[in-house]
Subunit: 659 residues, 2 copies
Amino acid sequence: MATTVQQTTVQQTPPDPTTADHVRITLDGRWREVRDGVRDALLRDEFAPHHTPDLREARAKTLAQLRLLAESGYAANGFAAEHGGTGDVGAAVTSIEMLAMSDLSLMVKAGVQWGLFGGAIENLGTARHHERYVRPTIDLDVLGCFAMTETGHGSDVQSLQTTATYDAATGEFVIDTPVPPARKDYIGGAAEHARMAAVFAQLITAGPGEEPESKGVHCFLVPIRDEDGADLPGVTTSDCGVKGGLPGVDNGRIVFDHVRVPRVNLLNRYADVAEDGSYSSPIDSPGRRFFTMVGTLVRGRVTVGGAAGAATRVALSIAARYALQRKQFDRPAPKGDATAPGEVLIMDYLVHQRRLLPLIATSYALAFAQNELVGRLHDIQTAENVDHRDQRELEARAAGLKAANTRHATRAIQECREACGGAGYLTENRLVALRADTDVFTTFEGDNHVLTQLVAKELLTAYADEVQGMSPVEWMRFAATTVSDIVKKRTAAQQIIQTILDTRQDNEEDGSLFNRGTQLTMFGDREEYLLSTAARRLQGASRREDDPFDAFNFVQDHVLHAAEAHVDRVVLEAFVAGIESCADEQARRLLSDLCDLYALTVIENDKAWFIEHRHLSVERAKAVTRGVNERCRSLRPHVLTLVEGFGVPESVLGAAMLT
Amino acid sequence: MATTVQQTTVQQTPPDPTTADHVRITLDGRWREVRDGVRDALLRDEFAPHHTPDLREARAKTLAQLRLLAESGYAANGFAAEHGGTGDVGAAVTSIEMLAMSDLSLMVKAGVQWGLFGGAIENLGTARHHERYVRPTIDLDVLGCFAMTETGHGSDVQSLQTTATYDAATGEFVIDTPVPPARKDYIGGAAEHARMAAVFAQLITAGPGEEPESKGVHCFLVPIRDEDGADLPGVTTSDCGVKGGLPGVDNGRIVFDHVRVPRVNLLNRYADVAEDGSYSSPIDSPGRRFFTMVGTLVRGRVTVGGAAGAATRVALSIAARYALQRKQFDRPAPKGDATAPGEVLIMDYLVHQRRLLPLIATSYALAFAQNELVGRLHDIQTAENVDHRDQRELEARAAGLKAANTRHATRAIQECREACGGAGYLTENRLVALRADTDVFTTFEGDNHVLTQLVAKELLTAYADEVQGMSPVEWMRFAATTVSDIVKKRTAAQQIIQTILDTRQDNEEDGSLFNRGTQLTMFGDREEYLLSTAARRLQGASRREDDPFDAFNFVQDHVLHAAEAHVDRVVLEAFVAGIESCADEQARRLLSDLCDLYALTVIENDKAWFIEHRHLSVERAKAVTRGVNERCRSLRPHVLTLVEGFGVPESVLGAAMLT
């Protein structure tokens, strides 16, 4: 492959409005009208980006914004029509994602109130809860919080230590914090605003003649504050204080001292306790029961990933625009040209292109994948009957994309900050707040490493029911001792992908790296190889090691790598499907080049693996890096079109340095 | 190489006080007593870590802390004995570095007042300035700021647009901001505290019978505020407002409207203007003159890198301690063992080890390299005669290590934050502030990409005088057209390294990856190969391309990679020399294992390059990853010893979550 040097001395090309529009329409996807609606809403002065470091002010402002949204009927989509909503799940998730473009504190508050607290009532409750609480939740007449995480246990939710002990004598549950690590912690809304908590606790009960025992973690509605905001008897709330970001979210702690709530406050869709204390559930296995409950709350995880993606697109829009106005260092005149060409736009430096363009490409890729995920969530949560396996796959994909989106956000927003130098460090230019606010997204709604492990678990155990509720060490032991039957399920893009692969002429090693079939094959082969060898290594280690923890530890990094390769493949396929959905030829060509850059960036980041496992020759590996550089150069004139395609409303770009 | 699984189910090993002490003594290095002195000073309540988001309060507190330091005679080391100090440059830099363990705002304020403002007077001024200003600067009777960066120009300092025009009629310089981009920006101290500024401006003058012309950028002392803090006539200061961190630093902007200062306010060590306006300098070349002046200010860059390193060691101390107390998920019992082993310490997970241990190893490596750099700085700045080339090498090394230290800080502190989950996001646990405060270090005192390019420039042009003052495109063109004569100068560890290489038995491909000679050879070969091929590619591109900017852009990423490889080699050699300086056998063995982890981590991160360029076979490449895992396992029992070796005083660990 000849290495030709491209002309890179492009001048700033004005964005082609038609192409940018088509790109944006394609990226907006199925809930485009919802996105446009939020874009319009964000034009109001009340939603302009603001810096409010004082916690009390910031929290008050965020609550006031939330009330504005509630008044405009913003929250109805998240709830079924028969409970008082409209039942458009995809619209609900998309509209919360779009809030992230304006203010992440507001996004989190909306997510907690309507997505987590409301979602618990909607999905874990029954008619008695829906009738009483859904409408007030939508209207903010009940302000709620989602009290799951404890000081001692975050990722391992099954080990929560708060207890809800049924007292048949009074027909009440007694909610208690028996030990300090059982304190509810980091709970959004618990410090100040919430009046009621959806509390996850070990349900302890005894039917007639039985010994009391824990039936596992269930969810209970527990009033925590009175009208005036004072703690109710037995409830002690406190404030987590200042955090790395999200000043508008009042995270707090809750300690319960034998707080009594009526029996009907158990959200009893999947399990109930009768007046006499006997326990019943349509799901026999405690593990499966618990994960069925938690599974209905998948929306939170989907929302966090989407919001991280939206915030990242704002940051990239700011940094790219800055790079298109900022100049530094003289450009010498070409030979034989006497005019002084002046200083160089920093976007014209190859290294600056390599800093921003692969991130832009990845943001597109993840946004297409997120759109697909939201569509799937909507279809599953609005369907009459849901295939158990589809639900499991949805949960795994939500976990994987949440990790991918939030990891990308942390890295990309930081790069944007640095790419704007000292100006990027000033709050008036928004980047530091976007960075600080999204920081915690990598660990909340599940730590990214734990979530990535969850993806591997589902793939390596072929979605086996038995593994639900197993600790990492346990499920890996299970995977090692069962016949490996790894399922590679195609994404929604199945047909398109198959056509691309079938019509590909060249083989993997010789095919152009810009050939989509070659890229898809490389992604798919890597995933298959990593998964099958992970299964084999688990078996081997399990045979050799006496201690199952050692066996687990021996392959933990390999298992995570396999899961990441899976997510990469899902994302690439979603990008391909996204391009296919674009109506405009020019926009499609642009997105196709961008997809090359995404694919080659992923391959470049894992290049050593591809070489080591003979999926890339040494010569071809060098061509990957040249390919990334080549696509950076060819996409350079289209940078503004690409960030306009993100559809970030100008009103929330809000960076003082942009002229 | 057989893959054996190590026993990883270690219990927390109490730190061996002797080993930890020896490690700390080794790492403390030449200015150990200075470090201990600051550790003692930081025990005072006034220096306890605090969270003070209100700008006015934070600035006042930082200034009060600075006054406490001044009263204790803290600042005398940075100034020559004949000017009123003690002349211990290494001690001055080390003591500012140590402040970073307590509060980065304080470190920056001290760095600005004594390092930058004081350093400009000390190094660019002459007796008339020393006599009048050094003592008041030490005592804080004069509060200063360092007004170099402008809104329009940061990295490219030679293009600053502020003017200082000499008026022979009055014997004054007229300081002016002729266009908006010439506004001084992000200047620490300019918003509130500074009374005087060291202003960098284009010196314009005309000798008798000459036309006025710019003699390039020079430094002038300009009073900016009166006793009461009001702007002096012609001076308009303003506030940069809230930043991503460093709330105690009052960054601001300065605009000058024909402000007159006496002729003697020119810091005239390297150039002077006579009463009649005639200009003289002992250095003929304007480029060399400017860079000689700037070169004397290298201390700032050294300090920033050191402070970033110190802050990172605090973060790693916190995150490692947390990982040694936090448990999550059950550990199943080994076969045949009936006792329930309980939950797993998160430090026992391989993936958690891989997250923290390579960062700890890198922190050690960089700290040893920083110690060597400070020693060299001290020796050069206290010597009678300095070899021009030694000075240039010092500057390049300061640039390279500043980039390496600050890049590591941003990445490592973020990883620490995430490794502590939700707790890591609370301000009370310090990590978010360490992260936010150090964030700007990647771009101030020179953007890291620009600094890395500077390293390449010095190496690829063999420290040629002509290149000083050339833009990146120009010097790369110079490098392409001169005979490549790349100098690989050994670090202070020269003799030790040579002995290791000479006594090495095995060759590169077969030698154990844990063999220091093998590691050193791999680092050295990579550097040489990258530098020599960069030179060749520059020549080739320069011949082929009409536009020198295109030629430059074609190899920019390669050039940066070469510079990074150089810095990696320097750092590894410093680590080797550091181990050699350790008196205790057990501590030496521990550091040696840690050095393996550092070396293999660097190789792993660039593994694809090593394979592509036949410095690693495919099979051996896999052994690199196994080697990293192996060292993570073998170092696991020593985690506490290793972070105790950082010598972070308990009083500033200050994380509420640590029990």
